[in-house]
């Protein structure tokens, strides 16, 4: 079975490394980066299926990363995981296309559940695109691809 390509993005190194170790124990290995800039480089080089993204980071913050990723790689499902989180942040993140919005601290199994749902959504979208393309409805297929839904 194909494993989920998961990217974890957070400037809190201890936190994100521990998260990665626990995800690996649950059979979901992940790549880890500590900045928005590194995240964009990894997305460009090896498009992940799902990204777990902190909002407040030095340099390019999470909201800007989300905006850029959804513009260039809309199929990547982005889950926000933040210690800051206001309702306005959540609203903006969802408008930009975030799959889900979590606040820290979070239970690992709850986060893993969201990661798996996000991955399933990505697979379903790909199947919808394939089915539409097979029917010749390329416009609708393109729409699904661009909206990343």
């Amino acid at each position: 079975m194909q494993k989920i390509k998961l990217l974890l993005v957070d400037d809190e190194e201890n936190f994100v490394n521990t998260l990665a170790e626990r995800m690996k124990m649950r059979d979901v290995p992940s790549a880890v980066v500590y900045s928005g800039e590194e995240a964009l480089q990894v997305v460009k080089a090896q498009e992940p299926d799902v990204m777990v993204l902190d909002l407040r980071m030095p340099g390019i913050d999470g909201m800007e990363v989300l905006r850029k990723v959804k513009a260039t790689h809309p199929k990547v499902q982005v889950i926000i995981l933040t210690g800051h989180g206001t309702e306005l942040d959540e609203e903006e993140a969802r408008k930009l296309g975030a799959f889900h919005y979590h606040k820290k601290p979070i239970d690992i199994d709850e986060l893993l559940g969201t990661v798996k749902k996000a991955y399933r959504q990505r697979i379903e979208d790909a199947m919808v695109v394939a089915a539409l393309a097979e029917e010749g409805d390329f416009e609708s297929a393109r729409k699904v691809m661009d909206e990343g839904k």
């Binding site: 809190e12 521990t18 626990r22 210690g83 800051h84 606040k103 601290p105 690992i108």
Partner: protein, 217 residues
Amino acid sequence: MKQANFMGQMASALSHDLCNVLATIQQAAGLLDDYLGLARKESLKSLGIRPQFKYNDKFESIIAQIRSHVGRGQDMCELLSRLAHAPDENQGAAELGAAANLLAGLSQRLIKRHKTTLELTPTLSPVRVDAPLIEALVLMHRSMALVLERGSGLGPVRLAITTTTAGAPCVDVTREGISAGEAQALKDKLDPDLLGPVGAVAIEGGLRLVFDAADGS
């Protein structure tokens, strides 16, 4: 207000950093738990040749303690974050129910110090007033502190959102056992500069803060 904005920004930044610290502690405790689980599995698989980790139960108990306190810290961070954003939320249009809820959360230590409890009457619908959230909080807190100073041996402090007979939204801060005369003395201790356009009335049990309804309410 500039000072309040400054305090808010500092508190917001601290709240964010604290949340990150708690999240790191929580995941580290979780990782310990994961390794305990692996050790238990290996012991079971070995059919008893590899004995269970001697201090398994002790570690589990400590991990549970850590998780409990992380949860407690998380609640505090949430309150701190809401307080931090109070100066910039809906300038001039505080929602009294939300303000009372936030104050109830922030005042737990104060209430505990006076060896009493706080009862909050929930509101059925939002009550918006023509006052910034931070000012409503300061007034309600000051009133509660005055009511608490009245002395020990009285009942719980009560916060209730209600309306005057003329329909003005108000907050009653009361405690059973405070007479009308004592309430008047408490009202006289309220700083008029602090009150601003908000009215204060002595009532049986304590104080009533009378606000103007927000436009459109």
